[in-house]
């Protein structure tokens, strides 16, 4: 992994959330400065801030994009006890010329009496719906029945969780076998031993969300929660950020074994648990295919977790601050990295330090040569230098004396050589 680009965010206070749109061509940021900014990627790969506006009268905790089937729609939630839905307006040629877009507030959801801590759009097959959760312990589910009129949102469900809520996650599965499902985490810090993760499932008959499961083993404050993309599995995978990173599987117990009509019962297992962040874990999120989980913790690092083909979960990469300031202009990096920027990485990788590479655990204990910095290249260095300019296929290629004397490679056939 490598940093391709760094962009000055220009928020006047702490940024709380960054969010890519579905295609990765736009992003949104939100901050304690009460604003949201939208950024667009140009054809050349540069990012430009195309809108920045005050959204709330308090810190904005989260910002998230609706699926593009519903247009260009954002939702935000804030300390000011509200969540809001925003839509981009097309037109106004003046704006377009200035490279600016215009966002209007379509609705303010004011039902919470406390800080709204998370907002998430439901999977698109459910229509245009969103869920919020708040410090008062209530999950609210809203729906916009007319996707062309986003000013009308109706509160469909209020689910009480009894504990201050910090995070929600919709189960993304679109399988008919899986009713809509939402998991809720609580960061309630009071010294009780109550379980902090609850899973609610929609019941077709009662038309209500009912509690399906409580993860009894999670008793420490939970800061984030994320269902993995389903990949056609019959069971669900749920990642939880608490004092460590935990990955659970929820396997539905066959219906005929449970009382019919009631919520699905699950067989719950911990498949991985990592305390590498040393302390609190604050965020967990899956990549789009659900093969890699990223987590962010008090150690200031983002860690990447992946199961290899033997189903062993392990840390495969760490994103870590280097502590030194970003210098120079507001946007820097290598969008189209020339070879120049590639090579150091390749070289690093040969020493085993490029991210995402160690999916195969070495069979033997780590070798001395692995971390030895002196030889950057894969091939062993020649013991004696030869003045061989003849064949660049030679493994000793980068060679001080060869730089000036070079001849094109001998192409195949194979038998060339001596």
């Amino acid at each position: 992994m490598f940093v391709a680009r760094s962009i000055a965010a220009d928020h006047k206070d702490l940024i709380h959330d960054v969010s890519f749109d579905f295609h990765g061509r736009r992003m949104a940021t939100c901050s304690s400065d009460q604003s949201v900014k939208v950024w667009d990627k140009s054809e050349s790969g540069d990012w430009h801030c195309t809108a920045s506006w005050k959204t709330h009268s308090g810190s904005v905790w989260r910002v998230t994009w609706a699926h593009p089937e519903f247009g260009q729609v954002l939702a935000s939630c804030s300390f000011d006890r509200t969540a809001a839905v925003w839509e981009e307006i097309v037109g106004e040629s003046n704006d377009k010329l200035r490279g600016q877009s215009h966002w209007v507030k379509r609705t303010t959801l004011v039902d919470s009496r406390t800080s709204v801590t998370d907002v998430k759009f439901a999977p698109k097959h459910m229509g245009l719906m969103l869920a919020t959760c708040s410090a008062d312990g209530i999950v609210r589910i809203y729906e916009a029945p007319d996707v062309m009129n986003l000013s009308q949102w109706s509160l469909q469900h209020e689910v009480s969780c009894k504990l201050s809520c910090s995070c929600i996650s919709w189960n993304p599965s679109s399988s008919r076998a899986h009713p809509p499902m939402i998991a809720v985490g609580s960061d309630d810090g009071s010294p009780n031993a109550m379980a902090k993760v609850q899973v609610f499932e929609y019941n077709e008959n009662t038309r209500k969300y009912a509690k399906a499961e409580t993860l009894m083993t999670v008793t420490d404050p939970v800061h984030d929660i994320a269902f993995a993309p389903n990949l056609g599995r019959s069971f669900h995978i749920l990642a939880i950020a608490t004092k460590d990173v935990r990955i659970f599987t929820l396997k539905p117990v066959r219906k005929e074994l449970t009382s019919s009509g009631g919520p699905t019962k699950f067989e719950i297992q911990v498949v991985a648990q990592f305390d590498n962040h040393n302390s609190q874990v604050w965020r967990v999120s899956w990549n789009i295919t659900g093969t890699v989980l990223a987590s962010s913790g008090d150690d200031g690092c983002v860690r990447l977790w992946k199961a290899n083909y033997m189903d062993n979960w392990k840390c495969t990469g760490i994103l870590k601050g280097n502590g030194s300031p970003v210098s120079g202009s507001s946007q820097q990096g290598n969008a189209n990295p020339s070879l120049g920027s590639n090579i150091p990485n390749l070289q690093h990788s040969l020493n085993g330090s490029s991210a995402g590479r160690c999916f195969f655990p070495p069979l033997d204990s780590p070798r001395a040569g692995w971390s030895r910095p002196s030889y950057a290249q894969l091939p062993p260095p020649p013991l004696v230098e030869h003045s061989c300019a003849a064949d660049t296929a030679s493994l000793q290629y980068p060679h001080p004396r060869r730089a000036s004397l070079s001849r094109p490679l001998n192409p195949l056939p194979e038998n060339e050589g001596v």
Partner: protein
Amino acid sequence: MEELDGEPTVTLIPGVNSQKKQMCFDWGPGEMLVCETSFSKKEKSEMVPGCPYIHIIRKDIDVYCKILRKLFNESHGIFVGLQRIEEELTGKSRKAQLVRVSKNYRSVIRACMEEMHQLAIAAKDPAGDSQFSSQISILSAMELIWNLCEILFIEVAPAGPLLLHLLDWVRLHVCEVDSLSADVLGSENPSKHKDFWKLPGNTQTLTELELKWQHWHEECERHLQDGTFASSPHLEALCKIMLGDEAALLEEKELLSNWYHFLVTRLLYSHPTVKPMDLHRYAQSSLDVFLGGESNTEPLDNILLAAFEFDIHQVIKECSTALSNWWFVAHLTDLLDHCKLLQSHNLYFGSNMREFLLLEYASGLFAHHSLWQLGVDYFDYCPELGRVSLELHIERIPLSTEQKALKVLRVCEQRQMTEQVRSICKILAMKAVRNNRLGSALSWSIRAKDAAFATLVSDRFLRDYCERGCFSDLDLIDNLGPAMMLSDRLTFLGKYREFHRLYGEKRFVDAAALLLSLMTSQIAPRSFWMTLLTDALPLLEQKQVIFSAEQTYELMRCLEDLTSGRLVHGEPDAQQLQDDDIETTKVEMLRIGLARNLARSIIKEGSLEGS
């Protein structure tokens, strides 16, 4: 042993102090966003000094390298060809084909190296040059490993030819000999050697060969003991080398570029008929002797050693850790799998190692704005998770142009990925509506088979017609065909437009019948009836009678239905009163027109029947 963790790899994010701050992040389809934040202090907003940066993180750097792109492109063709190799081919012909495929892969690597070499020459600055060079050295290492794997795993050369292959292997990758004619290897008595080496099966058996070699070996030894070369130390050394004397070989160590060069040389003079099974022993001891106790082996050494040990699994593991892209392991593993060399590791993950690596490689390609098209075929050949991975990746391709969208759609349609097709069309329809391109919106929603959206767009069309008195996108609406049946409103739109066409063509009788049927069949929305009735007015005023008496009765019933159904709520304002005025006038005119037409039609029908 599997539990032993490799060290995770670290990527440094500039400007973030991990001691004091945390990072928030988000995944995108090909990239990741990372930004400094502080999670613990939520309620208090604390002013941060300086300005935080948003960092865009990418995964596979090689995907963005222009020259490697050629490697990806050309190997894609070989890969697809390999997947289609006929299963029934067995024995020699199959093996020959697999060896050919392997050589093709290697020649692509070589071509890539060559191109890189040209660029290295062209690069004037030394920094650029060294960067190209190190890239070349990596490609070169890949080719070296691949070649050895080809000899050992694919050719499966038996004792005898095995050493020949290894000689070629060393010759291809060690270059010194050419320029140093006095070299040990160069003076290896080629004529004798060449005569000597005849492939077993051609003229002699392996045993015969061994016997002859033994004989020659003894002769050399006798010469040495007799002191034939005592006068010339050089010749004596040469003779010792030909006898495979290790000490003598090591004296010329500087001419042997590395341990595997030493290994092959040693085998040539002391064990020319080495069996595959014994290779590892010689390889290990050559490595130990050559490095002289320095046990610091490099990744490449370990990979080659694992190959000599015939431990394919280990070769792949070591390669996947040491190389910066998935290209090499994915393609090599796939080829070895076609050679039926991999036991499958069918565990819960649902795919074997081959598939695991191919999925990684293909996902990397999807991060690139055009290479994703190659990735599609790789996913196609992953039986377990290829399909669902493709579904998840392809719907994220940015639909920046119509052309690109059509390309993505074609891929989905070829694979019957109906949900992705629907979603992509829906996204495009929504985009078009937002930009007020109704024709495009309509055709995308028809393609998405989205009835609700087609209704919505049809309503927009009708509204536009009411406002402007004409239709846009006539081509589209005139050629809806069976697509018209998608939604009632769309059917109405199509039929209503047909009415206008008939009217324009002066086919008044047909036009009149159609107009009436739109109301009687309830296809026309109630809100549109007044417009339709108004459209009937000029037909009622024509010289000849168009609506029959029966049809006129129907029209009258429609009008009465409409007017009697209207209820006035509350106090009407001025605007409403004015609107009502217009409405009343319209209704009055219609009533007069209908009555007059009824009279004319009764007379006409009566007189026709009478005649």
